[in-house]
Symmetry: C2
Subunit: 202 residues, 2 copies
DNA sequence: TGTACATCAGTGAACGCGCGTTCACTGATGTAC
DNA sequence: TGTACATCAGTGAACGCGCGTTCACTGATGTAC
C-alpha cells in the first residue's frame, strides 16, 4: 500500500520518463504536454499540479535522461579493464541499435542543437553531463606519453573529443537516408575512435 | 533594369537566404514564415506565390545553406597544399567565431537532430551534402599506408569520421554555458582532428 | 508618344488548428470523533 | 467499527496565442493599339 504522497511522486516520475522518451524521439518542440501526459497514461489537465511549466519538465527530463544513460552505459561495465571498457562504450554508442532507438539513447545526439536554444538552465544540465562523461572516459584513457618533446595531451581533452566524435557520428548516421551510408558513418567513427584510444604516442 | 520575372526570382532567393539564416539561428520550428518574410523585408502574405509550403522552403534553404558553405570553405582554399587545406578547414570550423555565429555557419551542426525529423526529402539533401563533404575531405587525406599487415583504412572513411568529429565538437561547444569548457571542447577536438590527419601509419 | 487595359508581385486581414496553460469539478483517499 | 467531513490527484472543457495558410485587394509594371 502506497500513501497518496508516494503515489503522486511516482506519477511525477512517470511523466518525467515519458517526457524523456518523447523529447528524444520527436524533439522538444515536437512533443506536446498532452502527448507526454497521454503516453504516461494520464490526461493533460493534471500536468500543472506536478510542474510549473513545460520548461521545468524539460529540465527535469533532460537531467533524468542523461543520468539514466550514464548509469546504463558506465556502471554496467564496471570491473572490466580500462581498454575493454572504452571499446565497449564506443561500440555500443556507435551502432545501429542505438541509431534506430533515439528515444532510449543519448539525449545529446537525439536533441542536438535544440537544447542550446532552451536557455541557460538547459545548458547547465548539459554541462554537468558533459563533465561527468568526460571524467568517466578520461579515467579509462591510456595515459599520455609525450614524445619528441611535444606537450602531453590531457586525458580530459582526449575524452571530450572522443565524446564529440561519438555524438557527431550518431547524429550524422541518423540524418541520412541511405542505410549503406549510415552504417558506413557508424563504422568509420568507431574505427577512428579505436585508433584514438589505441594510440600509444601523443 | 530588371524584368518583373527576374525581380521575382531575386525575391525568391532573398526568402531562401533569409530562411537559411533564421533556421540556423532559431531552429526549423523556431523560425516562422512571418519572421522569415519580415527578415527578407516582405510581408507574410506573399510567401505562397513563391513556395507551396514551409516544407518546400526548408528543402530549398537547407540545400542553399549547405552548398554556400561548401563554396565558402572549400573553394576559397583551392591552391593550397593538401595538409594545409585540411588544417585550415579544421581550424576554421572548430573555432569560437563559428560557434558564436550559427546563422552563417554549418547547417548540420546548427540544426542537428531537427533535420532528421523533417522526413525523407530533408535527409536526401543532407545526404548529398555529406557525400560532397566526404569527397572534398577525402581528396586531401594523406593516403592510407597499411602497416603490420592490417587493412588500410579508406580516405572516405577517415573523412566522414573527421566531419562527424567537427560537427559533434561544434555542437557540444554550443550546448554548454561555461565559456572555458566550450573553448576547451573546441581546442580538444581540433587537436584530435590534427592528430588524425597527421597520422602516418594506419 | 500617349492612352486604355491586363497582369501579377506583394499586402494585410482573416481562417482553422494545435499549442501551453487555467480552472471548476469529481471521486477516491485520508482524518476526526 | 461506523459515520461525517476534508483533502487533493486527476479530469476534461475552455482560454488566449501564434502558427501555417488563404484570399480579396492594390498599385506598379508590362502590353496593345
Amino acid at each position: 500500500m502506497v500513501s497518496r504522497k508516494e503515489q503522486k511522486e511516482q506519477t511525477r516520475q512517470a511523466i518525467i520518463e515519458s517526457a524523456a522518451d518523447m523529447f528524444r524521439e520527436y524533439g522538444i518542440s515536437g512533443a506536446g504536454v498532452s502527448d507526454i501526459m497521454k503516453e504516461a497514461g494520464l490526461t493533460h489537465g493534471g500536468f500543472y499540479s506536478h510542474f510549473d511549466s513545460k520548461e521545468e519538465l524539460i529540465g527535469e527530463s533532460l537531467g533524468y535522461a542523461f543520468k539514466e544513460r550514464r548509469n546504463h552505459w558506465f556502471r554496467k561495465l564496471e570491473g572490466t579493464d580500462k581498454m575493454t571498457w572504452l571499446k565497449k562504450v564506443i561500440s555500443r554508442y556507435l551502432r545501429g541499435d542505438h541509431r534506430d532507438k533515439p528515444h532510449e539513447g543519448c539525449a545529446m545526439a537525439a536533441l542536438g542543437a535544440e537544447v542550446g536554444r532552451e536557455g541557460e538552465m538547459a545548458k547547465e544540465i548539459v554541462e554537468e553531463h558533459v563533465r561527468e562523461t568526460m571524467t568517466a572516459l578520461a579515467q579509462r584513457m591510456p595515459g599520455p606519453r609525450p614524445i619528441r618533446g611535444k606537450c602531453a595531451v590531457g586525458a580530459g581533452d582526449r575524452a571530450v573529443a572522443l565524446y564529440a566524435l561519438m555524438i557527431g557520428g550518431l547524429m550524422l548516421s541518423r540524418n541520412v537516408n541511405s542505410r549503406r551510408l549510415s552504417d558506413r558513418v557508424l563504422r568509420s567513427c568507431r574505427e577512428m575512435a579505436y585508433r584514438e584510444i589505441e594510440r600509444e604516442e601523443i
